[in-house]
């Protein structure tokens, strides 16, 4: 039967995606950038919308939530997956509201006035069936995909507004967004880049070779020299893994030190992050924030005798509080960290924060 074929095909794809996520996070599989993950998630969600069996918006949201929970459980540190799911859920809500004819704003914002006058929350159970809903949702998801494809270019286009000539810019590790940003500015301006190598993964080396091949004068320094060199740096431009709801960052380890050093020298810290990295999570001190990889990276097995008597930690991420950040550059422009909460309320519905 074509129906069950479609279903099995869909489940197969979902399983393949899940195992990909699981493998990618441990560092053994090929490293995928966040943009790729976001695109694949969105494509998969579009496929679910198209192929799964659902009759009303509520059903679809249930299905997506279920799959979404499984996906985020497969790789909790990959927050773009969760972000895309929440975006799609918001799209569904919007399309449903539009089909029903009511305007979007009144339904979504819970103001004190509404609470008092309506006399109880309106039960929105999304049970009504609309024929055109499927097509509308798929079209909206396609728009989202187009937006995702253009994010890096949008950010790179803003480069010349922020970099002047003869500057010294510092960055850490490897971020494809920052790479594109700097390469774009280098077409018109001459400046110098210092890359901190970010041990133990040393992704800074790749970044430095790539930048120098694009004609930018680059220097590689060790993580220990960040504060020593900071006094000669004009700007710090970094990428991040996630932007948290309070405007803070979850970035590669070593970024907090970099941010503190920049603050000490009053050097502006600019974060280039596309909108799909914005996550409604807040930083908690629980175990869910930090991710660890094999301590072999830090203390190799060749150090045999002492290994059993020593605790070795190899965290992957760092928390950077919003007070240390000067500016966020995203595909929709530049914002201060205090504005992030507002952007978030436009991207995600408050009920979707918990999947």
């Amino acid at each position: 039967m074509p129906g069950s074929d479609k279903e099995t095909d869909l489940t197969e794809r979902i399983e393949a995606f899940l195992s990909d996520l699981k493998r990618g996070g441990s560092g053994t599989g090929p490293l995928r950038g966040s943009a790729e993950t976001a695109r694949e998630t969105t494509a998969l969600l579009r496929r679910i919308t198209a192929q799964a069996r659902w009759s009303s918006a509520g059903d679809l949201m249930e299905i997506i939530r279920k799959e979404g929970r499984r996906m985020t459980a497969a790789q909790p540190s990959e927050t773009t997956v969760g972000n895309m799911i929440r975006r799609v859920l918001k799209i569904i809500r919007e399309e449903y509201a539009r089909s029903r004819g009511s305007s979007e704003e009144t339904d979504q914002q819970e103001s004190l006035h509404k609470l008092l006058t309506s006399g109880g929350l309106s039960e929105e159970n999304f049970r009504q069936h609309f024929a055109a809903l499927k097509a509308n949702v798929i079209e909206a998801i396609n728009e989202l995909l187009t937006e995702l494809e253009g994010t890096t270019d949008n950010i790179a286009m803003q480069a010349l507004e922020h970099i002047h000539s003869n500057e010294v810019i510092m960055t850490i590790g490897r971020s494809r967004t920052v790479e594109a940003f700097l390469k774009d500015a280098a077409r018109k301006r001459k400046f110098h880049v210092i890359v901190a190598e970010c041990a133990p993964f040393c992704q800074g080396h790749e970044m430095a070779t790539s930048l120098s091949k694009a004609g930018i004068e680059t220097t590689v320094i060790t993580d220990a020299a960040i504060f020593a060199v900071m006094s000669r740096v004009n700007k710090v431009i970094i990428g991040t893994q996630t932007v948290l709801a309070n405007g803070g960052l979850r970035a590669v380890n070593g970024t907090h030190t970099l941010a503190l050093a920049a603050k000490h020298h009053s050097t502006p810290l600019i974060v280039c992050a596309p909108m799909f990295k914005l996550s409604p999570q807040f930083p908690n001190e629980e175990d869910t924030f930090h991710k660890f990889v094999s301590p072999h990276e830090v203390l190799p097995f060749t150090e045999g005798e002492i290994l059993s008597k020593v605790n070795v930690h190899c965290p992957v991420f760092d928390y950077v509080p919003p007070e240390l950040i000067t500016l966020f550059i995203s595909n929709i422009g530049g914002h201060a960290p205090s504005y992030i909460y507002r952007l978030m309320s436009e991207l995600y519905h408050p009920e979707d924060h918990e999947l």
Binding site: E197, C198, A199, P200, F201, C202, H205, E206, A208, T209, S212, K213, G215, I216, E217, T218, T219, V220, I221, T222, D223, A224, A225, I226, F227, A228, V229, S231, R232, N253, G254, H256, T257, L260, A261, H264, H290, V298, L299, E303, I306, K309, V310, N311, V312, H313, C314, P315, D318, Y319
Partner: protein, 537 residues
């Protein structure tokens, strides 16, 4: 007077040059003559300086006058015009135009003599024709001031932070050639901010350029130099102790040549050794202080003292120095520091500081309950050595890299740091990364304690890590991960530079306490201690 002195002097000079090139020590008379010549030049130069003050820019004047080695001033071209001063010309090492090859010349004595004569004549002739200054020291543009006023205040700028000044390099090359020490060449592309520093490669040690047998440098010193440049002996205390032991060996093997005074001759003997060690790896502040002490002790030996007695005295002095300043100081510091360690502490240390390791081991023996977090950084990875030593004693340790410091700091109750030197403005000069740890500790409100012996206190002042630093081999940064070496051919890529700093300076507001053998002082009291020490001396 000058002319006759010149013709006389030129003959003697030839003798001197010949003996130098053959590796013989200069006789006393020859040295005296050179000294006299130098004094003459200085006098004449001062006269000329007063005349042509606005044109000349001589910042090395104080340097040349203070250096007691019989080295005439650098560029013959900057000599003043009149013929009254041709004496410097023949006195200038004949190969001064271009640095001569280090190997002993294979030509015969007569040929060399004739060559030099011809060159001296030519120089004298050109000097006659020249009229004003050519002012070659325009590069740095330092205003010239009467040397007598500047001398006490402006200390001699060390050569190893003036690599971008070609005059200084030429002068160094001449000095090394006179002392028969090979010149070490810089390696690789240097980051523009650090073009004033040397950058050597570990794969090209200085000893490869030494000829065998080298009669000028004592073998213990050659061994020491090699150990320094390969990083086998590293760490401020270790280097100083090794240096002092090597000097003890030198003194044991030393015999005073006839008609020489031990006090002056031994000091002169040590100078080429120090140059050699400096070429292998720039001297640290503690080594500088130790050398100053030794030189002072040697020159204080009374002349009627017999050789054996004098040598015994010197050996004793060195023993005392090591004992007092390093070993006993460590014990005193440990005593103070243990008061600051309480049960249940989590102590963070960075890299491998012999003093901090000593303190932790002592505290553990006194049955304090604490655990240690060792922070390490690439490319030296010295923390692993500290880790081994601590684990051997049974202390429970955790190990992280410096990029994980913000993760681990909330657990930490105290930070103990070692120092390479303490500068007179309260800044702490230490291994690169120390200032970073102090910064993050301050942000988390964790107290930072620096442990440092007083012999490492230094009169220099410095505010950033650029002006005076050391550049290590840039190839150390290359790493192979997952079979790929990203930076393998970094030399081929024209715009790529690797920076491997060795030291950095920590501002005093990050440091809460300095523990020294004189007690626990704040960072800003360093110049007070220096003053007290100098008064004592």
């Amino acid at each position: 007077m000058a002319d006759s002195g010149v013709t006389d002097g030129s003959l003697k000079k030839d003798e001197i040059e010949r003996s130098k090139s053959e590796g013989r020590e200069l006789t006393k008379e020859e040295k005296q003559r050179l000294r006299k010549e130098k004094k003459q030049q200085k006098k004449n130069k001062e006269k000329k300086d007063d005349n042509a003050s606005q044109e000349s820019e001589k910042e090395k004047k104080s340097v040349s006058s203070s250096s007691s080695a019989p080295q005439p001033p650098t560029q013959p071209a900057t000599q003043k015009a009149p013929s009254a001063v041709p004496a410097p010309a023949p006195a200038v090492v004949p190969a001064s135009e271009t640095p001569a090859p280090v190997e002993k010349p294979a030509k015969s004595k007569a040929e060399l003599k004739a060559e030099r004569r011809a060159r001296q004549e030519a120089e004298r002739a050109s000097k006659q024709g020249k009229k004003g200054e050519t002012g070659q020291q325009a590069a740095t543009g330092k205003p010239k001031a009467p040397p007598s006023e500047l001398q006490p205040v402006v200390k001699r700028l060390p050569e190893h932070i003036q690599v971008d000044n070609p005059d200084v390099l030429k002068k160094l090359a001449k000095k090394l050639e006179r002392q028969q020490i090979p010149l070490r060449l810089d390696y690789g592309y240097k980051v523009s901010l650090f073009s004033h520093l040397h950058q050597y490669s570990r794969k090209a040690p200085l000893t490869q350029q030494l000829s065998i047998p080298s009669s000028v440098i004592h073998p213990a010193i050659v061994r020491l130099g090699l150990q320094y440049s390969q990083g086998i002996v590293a760490g401020s205390n270790a280097r100083s102790v090794a240096l002092l032991h090597a000097f003890k060996q030198v003194i044991r093997d030393y015999t005073t040549p006839p008609n020489e005074e031990l006090s002056r001759d031994l000091v002169n003997k040590l100078k080429p050794y120090i140059s050699f060690l400096n070429q292998c790896r720039p001297l640290s502040a503690s080594m500088g202080n130790a050398i100053k002490y030794i030189k002072k002790e040697i020159s204080n030996i009374p002349s009627q003292c017999k050789e054996e007695e004098a040598k015994g005295k010197l050996l004793n002095c060195i023993e005392c120095y090591i004992n007092e300043k390093i070993i006993l100081a460590a014990k005193a510091i440990a005593k103070y520091a243990i008061e600051k360690i309480s049960d249940g502490d989590v102590i963070l240390v960075y890299g491998c500081s012999s003093l901090v390791n000593h303190i932790l081991c002592e505290a553990f023996e006194k049955n304090r309950k604490f655990r240690v977090i060792v922070v390490d950084s690439r490319p030296r990875l010295e923390g692993r050595e500290a880790l081994r030593r601590l684990v051997q004693r049974g202390i429970s340790c955790t190990y992280v890299l410096i990029s994980a410091v913000s993760y681990i700091l909330p657990e930490v109750s105290k930070v103990f740091l070692g120092a390479h030197a303490l500068l007179a403005n309260g800044y702490v000069m230490s291994r690169v990364g120390t200032s970073q740890i102090a910064l993050v500790a301050k942000a988390f409100n964790v107290p930072v304690l620096v442990c440092c012996e007083t012999y490492k206190f230094c009169e220099r002042v410095q505010t950033d890590s650029f002006v005076s630093n050391e550049l290590d081999d840039p190839d150390d940064l290359i790493v192979t991960r997952k079979g790929k070496t990203q930076l393998e051919d970094w030399q081929q890529v024209p715009l790529l530079g690797l920076l491997n700093l060795v030291y950095d300076v920590t501002p005093p507001d990050f440091v809460d306490l300095v523990i020294t053998d004189l007690g626990m002082i704040p960072c800003t009291s360093v110049p007070v201690v220096l003053r007290v020490k100098n008064v004592d001396l």
